[in-house]
Subunit: 204 residues, 2 copies
Amino acid sequence: MESRTASGKTAKASDLNARIIFIKPVAMQKLSMEELNRKSVEEFKRSEKTPVIAVLENIRSAYNVGSVFRTADAFLLEAIYITGYTALPGHKEIKKTALGAEESVEWKHFTNAAAAIESLKADGYKVYAVEQVVGSLMLQKVEFTSEEKIAVILGNEVTGVEQDTIALCDGCIEIPQLGMKHSLNIATAAGVVLWEIIRTRINN
Amino acid sequence: MESRTASGKTAKASDLNARIIFIKPVAMQKLSMEELNRKSVEEFKRSEKTPVIAVLENIRSAYNVGSVFRTADAFLLEAIYITGYTALPGHKEIKKTALGAEESVEWKHFTNAAAAIESLKADGYKVYAVEQVVGSLMLQKVEFTSEEKIAVILGNEVTGVEQDTIALCDGCIEIPQLGMKHSLNIATAAGVVLWEIIRTRINN
């Protein structure tokens, strides 16, 4: 018995490889927008959030801010705390990279990171700076539990999290970096650290 | 015995909390460029890489390409395979976000993803598309081992990885997304998936 595979090759029913090629395109069909079954803005606002907050300190690029909003939406973060001169939603470059996530994700503005940390600590959050310091915790070694309230501070693209801000934190988290450069893009760094926090909660 | 803490409060030597506050700013001092001890371009090129390759398919934004180069440098990837109309190093927007990582990280150009996949399979790589499909593997469930040669394909910002390309892959990896939007920024998605692959290798 012979049949035609998706790639147009003739395949025998006894030929396992050919049959796998035949089945694959159906099994790995991309999901449609409906099948992805995402939340509306209203559903998002009503849903129970993950008690994780990203704090942005003096982020220079509004594109980066927008990307963090998109990540915060995907991981259902409690909020984004925007501090210092970081651009606020409404900025057209945030709109361009957030693609609407700035409408769903809660955010608050604080004059500086110290004010945000004070509020976070009062609310029972453990506050970590994402920074390379003496005694920082390597990301893969931090044992996040699924109930903790956690805030992570991401600093300026060039100068990182301010030393004065670090002094107010419960600790610093470092993404191991093995290459030539000294840092990741901040939206990428935010994605990596937030994923590491979220993965534990999804697993449970 | 009393002493002054960094915050100006009076502390007794017997007061453990106060003493911790006093020590913190010193313990969490940011590392200098020298202390970060990053590799030079030559050292990077000589060092043993992680057998992990990122494949970029029809990426529209050269800024995103540059960010992936930076991530590939940080995680010491074997190479980046650039396919379709994705911009190549030399492009000024790649330079702007790669910050020199396009000089250290190896890259190859292929006319299309199919050609890249053929080459990867011949070299013994397992090839995954990062895409939301019927039967995709949730990122936190994939059990990456520390020896596997792995390639991950990241697709166009709007249309994702091509269905024809997906059909040639060993599987699809999906980043769980709980919010309103349907996707992460591609540089962020690359960071999250590459970190998940790399973390296992760093732990071992």
